[in-house]
Amino acid sequence: MKSHRSDIEPFWVKDCALIAIATGKKAQNLRELREYLRDIDTNSIYYHFWGGLLRPRFDDPEYHNDFAIWVAHSLHHISLAERLAIIDPTNFETLEDLRSELINLIEDSLDETEFPKWAKRDDQFEYIRFQLVIFNTNISFGNPYEFSCLLPQVSLGSIFFHFIDSRHRNSNHIDDFRNWLLHFGEEYKNLINRIERIDPYFSSLAKLRHDLSQAFSDCVQGEGY
């Protein structure tokens, strides 16, 4: 378990940091939210689903994306908030597909109401975009044993980059950890399945780091495999 496979490149850990940028586009009601949503950059949609993991925001246990949070807390439109909150962005092939789903849900809701609810002037939905800085950590793992030892110490930015962001970068839409383990053929099939079952969306980065570390740790100890 501790040996390196010379034919497989080690897993090089990268890290990332995000900076948010105001777009100046603000919505005070559902109609405005939909209008901006039609042509806002997909970068902004990505940010409002995933950016909360890397910026100051409370991990709302009820609503997991900014659209749902705003609709619930500022428009007090709970049924729509629930429908928006249950959207799992990992189920969508592209961000354009995700955009369509959002617009459909909002339009359905608009069809049901004659007068859309308004948020307070200082509580509008602010469309935000971001820039992501990706950098090397000079940390590498040669096998799952090394993962199990060091993963608990890597930064949350690294977890975001390799476990969340990778799904959008990689053509097969899976995270970097599983992609790397796939190089070993069937050897870590159970570990790959275990990682696949970790929900990337309904969690915090600290919890994801813990769950991933546990999966690697159980693997090297032979538990559940």
């Binding site: 900076i19 948010a20 940028i21 820039q131």
Partner: protein
Amino acid sequence: MKEKSILEKYHKVAGRDVVEHLCQLAKPLKGLRVVHVNSTRIGGGVAEILQKMVPLMQELDIDTKWEVITGDSTFYQCTKSFHNAIHGNRVVIPENHFKIYEEINHQAAEAFRDTLKNADIVFIHDAQPAAIINDFPNHKGKWVWRCHMDASHPFRPVWRYLRDYISLYNASVFSIANFVRRLPRPAYLIAPSIDPLHEKNVELDKTEIDEVCSRFKIDKERLMLLQVSRFDRLKDPIGVIQAYKLVQDFMPNIQLVLAGGGATDDPEGELILNEVREAVKDDPNIKILLLPGDAHRTINALQRASDIVLQKSLREGFGLTVTEAMWKKKPVIGGDTGGIRIQVVNHHTGFLVNSPEGAALRIRYLLNNRHILDEMGKKAMSFVRENFLITRQLREYLTLIFALLHGTQERITLG
């Protein structure tokens, strides 16, 4: 024994992984020349942050300097009016004050010319030094205007004047999206933070907390509500007293402490203070404490001694007093406004309220459910640790620097 580095001191409070992350991120910026310019070295939130931010950046091998613009009383009157105008107050500024503002900025530009000319990144904080850029039409570095105010609804004539200068910057930074004013260049968002190692926030031993309580005759047997803020109508101290009185009918064993500055230079402050005194009447269980601006440890002790902290503002900037209270494991009952909304999450870190009745209701709820109060306090501290410590703000400044150096690209891959 070897003096600990500043970064090492943050290991314990912010986490080793957070500090390591900062070191890695800063590596490619080694030797970069960064300058911060503001209007004071001591006092006020901006100076407080820079006192720690500058040495931290230096320790990360970024060549960081801090310059301070100074002027005469007319200059400060003028910039105080700018401050009020950006917050939406209608102000009348005499024409000669604008001239003096421009002249002082020009003098500062001359005084700092070499430093600013050679800088890779220049952070100009708030309005006081904003016009310095006018003297550097061909600046080679990236200039950033860092706005610490809520600029969402400024008094337009003054904003239009300032915008002519601010539009010259490569980028601006605001604390939250709500505070942003539309500008021609990117407006980045960086929330403020507290320094966990500042006297305001360090751990205190029980003896010191007890000493502060006895100094102000605070009854240790009574449950304590606290609001720390200057005596300003927008902080709603009268609403806090009303809430306290509503609770007192059901829970006579409470006391209220209103701690704030003396505000002797603020005629309205004096007026509000008199209103507060009138509202208190002769209730021995309400204490009004007028504390000097540097009473950091006293405020710290009061926050730690309290059961619930209130910040019942009607309008608020970011509300760092909320952050400070949460860091001390206190749930906060706060006004539903500004940055308080980002920090106070109903049923998790406190409650957002819109009336004295709402505040009273939440106070009663928490005091009757001690285990929930304690749980929320723990959650509040953890929320601050993850999001509102200076290490997070530093990380965002570093990220911003990369963004400025690499233009508009969405993903910047280093190395």
